[in-house]
């Protein structure tokens, strides 16, 4: 029973991952991006749980719970942790217009399919077949990092990049050893907290969080 659903479930989860990534590029409101990030965390946790059940590894189910709590709940909560009223007003004014950005997302997705199938030679298994989604998420994360101006939108780009790496890890090798998984989650959580503190300091020092203001240091 489960075997017949397995490819569909993998497809559903990875599809949700790609869709949330594309929507993050499309939407300009910070609150919407944070909600999409939470949704993506849930989809990633579901993907890990499906792989874990299929391979009969209880360890992976534990990892899925860890991901759900960190990426699905913890990080979005940290990011949204200020008054809802003020966060609703924060609108991003990115360097790319939505049409160009979505076109870029399409091109990056095609690129990652070409790279993964030709170069890595993956694609003979169900999970290997979905692996390009992870690379596409990494590339879309880079796109967000480059094209966004606000400190916190860049932070979301970084988290998308990290989700992409985790997706690749689970799809290609069923996840890294659990000790490393813990270390990675802890590191990402701390980096986000630090950047969050810096974004707060930026607001008090510069009166805003537009990264464009950071141009005092140069040669």
């Amino acid at each position: 029973m489960f075997e017949t659903f397995y490819p569909q479930l993998i497809g559903l989860c990875t599809g949700a991952l790609l869709l949330t990534s594309a929507l993050m590029v499309w939407r300009h409101s910070l609150l919407a991006s944070i909600r999409l990030l939470a949704l993506q965390g849930v989809a990633l946790a579901a993907l890990v749980a499906v792989i874990g059940i299929a391979e009969g590894e209880s360890e992976l189910v534990l990892v899925a719970l860890l991901i759900l709590s960190v990426k699905g709940v913890g990080l979005p909560w940290v990011l949204a942790h200020q008054s809802k009223a003020s966060i609703k007003q924060i609108q991003e004014s990115p360097r790319l217009n939505p049409t160009a950005a979505l076109l870029a997302v399409t091109l990056l997705t095609i690129l990652s399919y070409v790279v993964v199938s030709r170069v890595f030679g993956l694609g003979d298994t169900t999970t290997g077949h979905a692996a390009p989604i992870g690379l596409a998420m990494v590339l879309i994360g880079f796109l967000l990092l480059i094209s966004r101006r606000r400190a916190r939108s860049q932070l979301i780009g970084f988290l998308l990049l990290d989700n992409g790496i985790a997706t690749i890890a689970f799809l290609t090798s069923g996840g890294v050893p659990i000790l490393l998984e813990f270390a990675v989650s802890l590191d990402v959580l701390l980096v986000v907290l630090i950047l969050h503190v810096f974004a707060g300091r930026m607001r008090t020092k510069f009166g805003g969080t537009a990264v464009d203001q950071l141009r005092e240091l140069h040669d």
Binding site: L161, I168, L195, R201, E216
Partner: protein
């Protein structure tokens, strides 16, 4: 012997906790020094163990100290000691709350670097390198000015994105080992398994991992965070970051390289690292010529030296003993220079080169060590940097990378000229006429660490036993027989 592996990890953590608990005690200012001593001591003990032929490991093989790890741990301790001792804070300023977290973060930073060089799993090594970014983020932003905030933001974003790319590479290396009997991230197993690792995945993984760690070691074109972070951080932190954090990232590249060499041969990474190294030299040369800020000048000098080390790594086993000696020499001298630059900044109140004039006449206590250390960093003998550079260039000729090292030599000459001009501008000049002054012979801080660092670098290249033996053993660990 295996308990020694835990000293550089647990020791600094204990000192960090002490720093936070000590209240307003002035003892707190010695936390960084004590943590460095713990690391250096265990480094020496492990070097002793390695030279007697054993390879201590602990935690079920999680921590392991071969010759390379033991050597790197000693370098971390030595550079840490020079930076923290030379940059010892005053009794008054060490009583504040800021000082408590500052000293605690320095100790955590040292522990993270120790873990990075002692970890057997390349996954754990990655996590430790990322932890160094976390520990140093607030240290870079310590002064809380607009400039230091800008530097810290760029540092954390670029540092963690770079290290994330390295994680992607490590994930792919792990995926390459899934096809073998034992999927693993253990370096010792990966570097011994000759069959079964998927070449395509190892190529992609190795390239991404090296690219990521190259960001952290300040190689061009991913260097843009480095001059900002190193010029805005407090002097001891700059000394630690420039002197040894960059080298720890280079150590990670060495470990990855030894895995890829086994599967796909040395050519691929050789090309990558040669290009990165030459680009770094080019960037350093072009930005040093017109440099106005002496702390940024030192930062670009680090990019230059890392570039040359990367070329050495690209050359392979023939150049590796020189590269390893280079790591120590550069670390000690760069830490010394940053410590002195911190003192100059404190007494002169400006980081601008053209505002600091006639230092040799006005403040010989600072100018004399500054001049000696500058001579060492541009590569005058008897300082070990000279012998390392000659060793790398000779090795490059011998393996057929003559073009690369010739280009590097030309760029080194340009950098040498730029450095000489800037140093002369700062130190040797007529004092402003009309202003009466008395020469200031004070060294504005502990003198001994500077003397120790300079004396060590001046003599270490002549000590064949045990230094030479250790360097050859460390090279042998990486699969080279020289």
């Amino acid at each position: 012997m295996s308990f020694v592996l835990w000293i550089p990890l647990v020791g600094p953590l204990v000192f960090a906790a002490l720093s936070l608990l000590l209240g307003g005690s002035a003892l707190r200012r010695f936390v960084g020094v004590a943590a460095s001593c713990a690391v250096l001591l265990s480094g020496f003990l492990l070097v002793g163990a390695v030279l007697s032929g054993s390879v201590p490991d602990s935690g079920g093989g999680m921590l392991r100290a071969d010759a390379l790890s033991a050597y790197m741990l000693s370098v971390v301790g030595a550079v840490g000691l020079i930076s923290t001792w030379g940059g010892l804070s005053s009794v008054v300023s060490s009583r504040t709350r800021d000082a408590a977290s500052y000293e605690a973060l320095i100790a955590l930073f040292l522990a993270a670097m120790s873990l990075a060089v002692l970890a057997d799993s390349i996954g754990l090594m990655w996590a430790a390198v990322e932890a160094t970014t976390i520990a140093t983020a607030f240290l870079v932003g310590h002064h809380r000015t607009r400039r230091s905030l800008e530097a810290a933001w760029k540092y954390v974003i670029l540092g963690s994105v770079g290290v994330a790319i390295a994680l992607l590479g490590i994930v792919l290396i792990y995926a390459a080992s899934v096809g073998t009997d034992t999927p693993t991230l253990s370096w010792i197993l990966l570097s011994q398994s000759t069959q079964g690792l998927d070449p395509a995945l190892i190529t992609a993984g190795g390239a991404l991992a090296v690219l990521g760690f190259a960001t952290k070691s300040g190689l061009a074109p991913m260097h843009s965070w480095l001059p900002d972070a190193h010029s805005q951080a407090p002097a001891p932190v700059s000394g630690l970051m420039s002197g040894v954090l960059l080298s720890v990232a280079l150590y990670a590249i060495l470990r990855i390289q030894s895995i890829t060499n086994l599967v796909i041969g040395p050519e691929f990474l050789r090309t990558m690292l040669s290009i990165g190294g030459l680009l770094s030299l080019l960037v350093a040369a072009s930005l040093l010529i017109r440099q106005r800020d002496y702390k940024r000048m030192l930062a670009y000098s680090s990019i230059e030296h890392m570039g040359l080390m990367a070329i050495g790594v690209a050359i392979g086993p023939a150049a590796l003993p020189s590269v390893l000696l280079y790591i120590l020499g550069h670390g000690l001298i760069k830490a010394t220079l940053f410590v002195i630059s911190g003192r100059i900044l404190k007494v002169e109140g400006t980081p601008v080169i053209s505002d600091v004039r006639a230092l040799l006449v006005r403040r010989p206590g600072l100018a004399v060590p500054w001049l000696i250390a500058m001579a060492a960093i541009v590569g005058f003998p008897p300082f070990s940097i000279f012998f390392s550079e000659v060793g790398i260039i000779m090795a490059g000729w011998s393996v057929g990378l003559g073009g690369v090292v010739a280009a590097a030599l030309v760029l080194l000459l340009v950098i040498f000229a730029a450095f000489t001009r800037l140093t002369v501008q700062m130190t040797i000049d007529a004092p402003p006429a009309g202003n009466a002054f008395t020469p200031d012979y004070s060294s504005h801080g502990p003198r001994l660490p500077i003397v120790l660092a300079l004396a060590t670098t001046a003599t270490i290249a002549f000590v064949a036993e045990p230094v030479g033996t250790l360097l050859l053993q460390a090279t042998a660990v990486l699969g080279g027989t020289n």
